[in-house]
């Protein structure tokens, strides 16, 4: 147990360190962390204080929360499907969100509410499609089919998104801006709903964590222990889709965090979802804030969308994962 708490402490320290590092990096090199501290002491913010408090701090918060949510969503998806590869980007949920936004940009007349809502709608529809394809009346739920269906849904959505690239310059620019996972324009308005949804996500998934453990024993065994597998799976799917959709609305589709993080955490924190939950959130936040640092530095002083950096980090890990995953788990 002491061993475990040491791991948690390491994660927390690493996450805080990377968050602070990310805070201190930006195109303005005359802004320091000390400006943040002094910002809390004054009523009227100076320019430097305003930069770190109004621009960089919400952005770092968004990175942390988005990372945490995606890590959590990935953990839930993997728990309910008992498939170590299930995650928002593999199941086509992210790509569906991108398609939703793209349709809204190309045909402004079909926008319901606003573009964020279009993203959420796209994410939910894509997720629902993937799951329904994986469930067939004849053979029941099939894990491999889930992955393949997700990839088909994702490929379909992405082909449509790419099409807009050959239309107008300005339209292509907007689509790329929305769909590349760019958090550079985050502000406090983005942070507030994220915090609320994250808290809801934590609470609801913590309540379900024990049931996820039962589910890991297999549907029949979990039923024997008094759990209703279908209900748990449904609730888990709804929580995961909501968490993903909310991050998409704020940051755009960010790939692979939900895939990489739960897998990584399981190696160090074991299979108990009650212990995994905080670990995946912390590690997701850590990865996302690291990616954000890279995004700020790779083409300094210009920025690269954080989502692209995540994809570059995550995709090779997926290859590693696909090689090491045991055949039986498929």
């Amino acid at each position: 147990m002491r061993h475990l708490s040491l791991k948690y402490i390491t994660l927390v320290v690493a996450m805080c360190a990377s968050a602070l590092l990310s805070l201190s990096i930006g195109p303005r090199q005359d802004v320091f962390l000390s400006d943040l501290l002094s910002a809390f002491a004054t009523d009227e913010l100076s320019i430097n204080q305003s930069i770190i408090f109004d621009l960089r701090l919400p952005r770092t918060f968004v990175a942390i929360l988005v990372g945490a949510n995606l890590g959590l969503a990935g953990m839930i998806l993997q728990a309910i499907t008992r498939n170590p590869l299930a995650s928002p980007s593999i199941l086509g949920i992210n790509q569906g969100a991108a398609l939703g936004m793209t349709l809204g940009l190309v045909f402004p007349s079909i926008i319901l509410l606003n573009l964020d809502f279009m993203a959420i709608l796209g994410a939910l529809i894509a997720g629902a499609l993937t799951f329904s394809f994986a469930n067939s009346a004849k053979n029941g739920f099939n894990s491999l089919r889930l992955i393949l269906a997700g990839i088909a849904v994702g490929a379909f959505s992405y082909a449509m998104v790419r099409f807009t690239f050959i239309l107008d310059d300005d339209l292509a620019r907007e689509v790329i801006g929305w769909t590349s996972g760019n958090i550079s324009a985050s502000n406090w308005q983005d942070v507030k709903p994220l915090i609320v949804w994250t808290l809801l996500g934590i609470i609801s998934s913590y309540l379900l964590a024990h049931k996820f453990n039962l589910l890991a024993l297999g549907e029949a065994a979990s039923q024997g222990l008094g759990a209703n597998p279908k209900l748990i799976q449904f609730m888990g799917a709804v929580i995961a889709a909501t968490l993903t959709a909310i991050t998409v609305a704020v940051a755009g589709p960010v790939m692979f965090i939900g895939l990489v993080i739960p897998h990584f955490c399981r190696r160090f924190f074991g299979q108990d979802h009650r212990l995994l939950l905080p670990a995946t959130m912390l590690a997701g936040a850590l990865l996302m804030s690291l990616a954000d640092i890279v995004a700020k530095l790779i083409n300094f002083p210009y920025e690269t969308p954080t989502g692209i950096i995540c994809a570059l980090i995550g995709a090779p890990y997926f290859l590693y994962q696909s090689l090491t995953v045991k055949g039986a788990k498929l």
Partner: protein, 349 residues
């Protein structure tokens, strides 16, 4: 009686095969497919931003008396149709071979990462070596496709992975390449450049005879080799253990066939961009039509592939003239639902 037995013994095996083949139902289907490909090609020559009546099309093609549309038919549309036929056929053969090798009906060049690898390298070439003419794109694409295939091959070599697992590794390699392509498109100073973007969506826009000359020889050679090696596929399709029992060195055969499939798909991507799902759909449709024998499936799926791409290119020109919808978009729109349909009905699971 003994006479006929003797004759059959003298007659080489391929002649006997051919004899049986000409009398089979599959032969009729192949002929019908062939006719359909011709009809679709002529239709594709007629439609586009400027519609041309069939009479004028035929006049121009065969240099008959009467109205002609020399430039549009001969210089603009004919090379596109020829390229569509070649890339469609190549992708279909590639898909059929890959499906046979990894014994998975859902496999295709796109699913095992070859398309994405080719796309990544072609993008890299456009970015890093902007002064090299676009006719060298197929070379870069081949390098990328082969590299992706090599990664998959070495990563799985000696591990005795199942076909499904192999597909998963391919998907992962595909994701790596895709994220590289995304990085190039979004982060590097080119996301407004027309060339890589238009090409990436699988478009025949602006393709001319130069492109045809650049790829016809390798494509036709590979396709011919692939077709003649088809009988090995039947043996491989029985499964790795059986094939070893029948005296084929499975790993070597797999490697050669995989190389041919990779080259076919990569060259197609290099010249026409990513035409998603053609390599998946065509062999399936072909198998439904002519059964599981690969000597029949390969030519049939080549014909189906040609038909699909020629139709996609023609339709892309005909829908919103003068704006073109890339053929690759249309194949993906029809291909993804088809993929899911195959998945749902596939009895192999």
């Amino acid at each position: 009686m003994s006479q006929s037995v003797k004759q059959q013994n003298i007659r080489p095996q391929w002649q006997a095969d051919l004899y049986v083949y000409f009398r089979s139902k599959s032969f009729v289907i192949q002929v019908v497919l062939f006719v359909l490909v011709i009809v679709a090609s002529v239709w594709s020559l007629m439609v586009g931003a400027v519609s041309i009546p069939v009479q004028v099309t035929i006049n121009t093609l065969f240099d008959l008396d009467g109205d002609q549309q020399k430039y549009i038919i001969l210089r603009s549309r004919l090379p596109r149709v020829v390229l569509a036929l070649m890339t469609g056929g190549a992708l279909a053969i590639s898909g059929a071979v890959i499906q046979a090798i990894i014994r998975n009906p859902l496999a295709s060049p796109k699913i095992i990462g070859v398309n994405s690898g080719a796309a990544l390298f072609a993008c890299l070439m456009i970015i890093l070596l902007p002064d090299i003419p676009a006719s060298y794109l197929p070379l870069a694409a081949c390098a990328g496709g082969i590299l992706a295939a090599l990664i998959i091959f070495f990563a799985t070599f000696g591990r005795n992975l199942s076909g499904v697992h192999l597909a998963l590794v391919g998907i992962a390699v595909g994701f790596i390449c895709e994220s590289g392509v995304d990085y190039i498109l979004v982060a590097l100073p080119t996301h407004e450049l027309a060339t890589p973007l238009v090409w990436l969506t699988g478009s025949f826009w602006g393709r001319s005879w130069t492109h045809v000359y650049a790829v016809w020889l390798p494509l036709c050679t590979m396709a011919a080799v692939g077709l003649t090696m088809a009988y090995r596929l039947d043996i491989l399709h029985l499964g790795a253990e059986t094939a070893t029992g029948l005296g084929l060195n499975v790993q070597v055969q797999r490697l050669i066939l995989l190389l041919i499939a990779t080259l076919l798909a990569s060259i197609s991507v290099g010249v026409a961009g990513v035409l998603g799902f053609v390599g998946l759909m065509a062999p399936h449709i072909a198998r439904r039509l002519v059964g599981g024998n690969h000597r029949l499936v390969l030519p049939a799926s080549a014909l189906v592939g040609m038909l699909l791409v020629v139709l996609a290119d023609g339709a892309g020109r005909a829908i919103f003239p003068p704006i073109e919808i890339s053929a690759g978009i249309l194949t993906a729109i029809f291909g993804a639902p088809f993929f899911i349909y195959i998945m749902l009905t596939s009895s192999q699971e």
